[in-house]
């Protein structure tokens, strides 16, 4: 009887857990939908902005802007990385940490500063004793225009003030609700891809190149930070949904197995009881 009660209790526990994972999966699915539409609707703008910058780098007019400046000697590197605030989202954070580790291997601790989004990342890198310049815990998948601006301004400021000589971003790219790619990108200095000047464009600039870049580049940077955040938010929800879906399925399997054991035990108990009654009756008769 002891064993039977134990099994029943375990079934109940697993059922409760399953209910939680199921609810979490549903919440993640709802959030994913919103985050996914955020990513997908803001991609065209990012693409056009990127294209515009690429086209501009092919301009005949020569231009200079401090954000393009490639530093000869890299003394300090800034890494901007995006993690989640909450756990239970599968390998989402672990993948970022793995990639960050292989990136950081090439540097000494005093050569790198980190700007971190998400509590998980903050806790992880504080434990590992990396220098955390700035952290943004508790965004929870939402970012306002002013937050976005302040994050971007800090990154740009740290670069322009010569405190850091290059800035990288590390985030999770959202490919589809079940596929994500951890992506490391150079953020600053800005390197327009089209280096081989195969086809120059004779642009007319109004008012002039410098002022265009003055307006364009901050916007470009804000947009890149925004895209990285949106991609990561969507990936987090997708990752959590997959993880919770798997957990629910595992719980289902466990319940099935335990139910089978329970039934067997119950059957055995009944058989045992019947045998006892029968043999008792037999003894009385005798």
């Amino acid at each position: 009887m002891q064993a039977l009660r134990e099994i029943r209790r375990r079934i109940r526990t697993v059922q409760n857990t399953q209910q939680i994972t199921k609810a979490m999966k549903m919440v993640a699915a709802a959030r994913l939908k919103k985050a996914q539409s955020n990513v997908e609707s803001s991609r065209p703008y990012a693409k056009k902005l990127d294209l515009l910058l690429k086209n501009l780098s092919r301009a005949k007019t020569s231009f200079y802007h401090p954000l393009f400046e490639k530093r000869e000697k890299i003394k300090k590197t800034l890494l901007f990385l995006i993690t989640s605030d909450r756990g239970l989202c599968g390998p989402f954070n672990a993948n970022i940490f793995k990639e960050a580790k292989s990136f950081l291997e090439d540097y000494e601790k005093d050569q790198v500063g980190l700007v971190i989004v998400g509590k998980k990342g903050f806790n992880h890198f504080r434990r590992e004793k990396w220098e955390i310049v700035q952290s943004y815990p508790g965004l929870e998948g939402k970012v306002t225009a002013s937050q976005l601006k302040s994050i971007t301004n800090i990154l740009i400021e740290l670069f322009l003030s010569n405190k850091y000589d290059q800035v990288y971003t590390l985030y999770t790219q959202f490919l589809n609700p079940a596929t994500f790619k951890v992506t490391l990108e150079k953020f600053l200095n800005i390197e327009p891809e089209n280096k081989e000047k195969k086809l120059q464009i004779d642009y007319i600039f109004e008012p002039n190149v410098e002022e265009i870049f003055d307006v364009l580049l901050p916007r470009y940077c804000i947009n890149r930070v925004q895209m990285a955040l949106f991609e990561s938010f969507a990936s987090e929800h997708g990752s959590r949904m997959t993880a919770m879906s798997a957990a629910t399925k595992n719980a289902e399997e466990m319940i099935e197995e335990l139910t089978l054991i329970r039934n067997k035990l119950r059957q055995a108990a009944i058989t045992k009881e019947m045998l006892e009654i029968a043999s008792g009756a037999e003894a009385l008769k005798g």
Binding site: S42, P44, Y45, N55, Y203, E206
Partner: protein, 136 residues
């Protein structure tokens, strides 16, 4: 005829074939016709006039952004754009009040360029709303 794409950070607003556009460049209004030379300019809050294939005119209110002309493809990257009937006049007026208040206050923490940009944006919206909604 050339292709015009209007994109905002939120979505692709319009993609269409047009005959001409007049846009509020930072150096003044500028018109673009077919086979215009490559050009890049920043935009300031103002009125965007688009003449489509059959020369029908359509007005939009844009706030700042960029305009790029390259090989008969015009791209407008606007921070925000709306047609006069989509403008929420009440909201624009409230924004104007707020901006004016901030400009007048002597609080040193006020971001003056930002407030005056907000003022210009809302004034532009109200102007375009008033001059085009009445006519319809």
């Amino acid at each position: 005829m050339f292709k015009l794409s209007i994109v905002t950070p939120e979505k692709i607003y319009r993609e269409l074939e047009v005959n001409s556009i007049i846009a509020p460049g930072s150096e003044g209004y500028l018109g673009v016709l077919t086979n215009h030379a490559p050009l890049v300019t920043s935009l300031i809050p103002g009125k965007l006039t688009v003449k489509d294939k059959v020369n029908q005119e359509k007005i939009y209110s844009v706030s700042s952004g960029f305009l790029e002309v390259y090989k008969n493809q015009v791209t407008i990257l606007a921070d925000s754009i709306e047609s006069p009937e989509d403008i929420n006049k009440k909201r624009a007026q409230e924004a104007l009040e707020r901006a004016k208040k901030r400009l007048k206050s002597k609080d040193p923490t006020v971001d003056l360029p930002r407030a005056s940009a907000a003022e210009r944006r809302s004034l532009n919206r109200i102007k375009i709303h008033d001059s085009y909604i009445k006519r319809m």
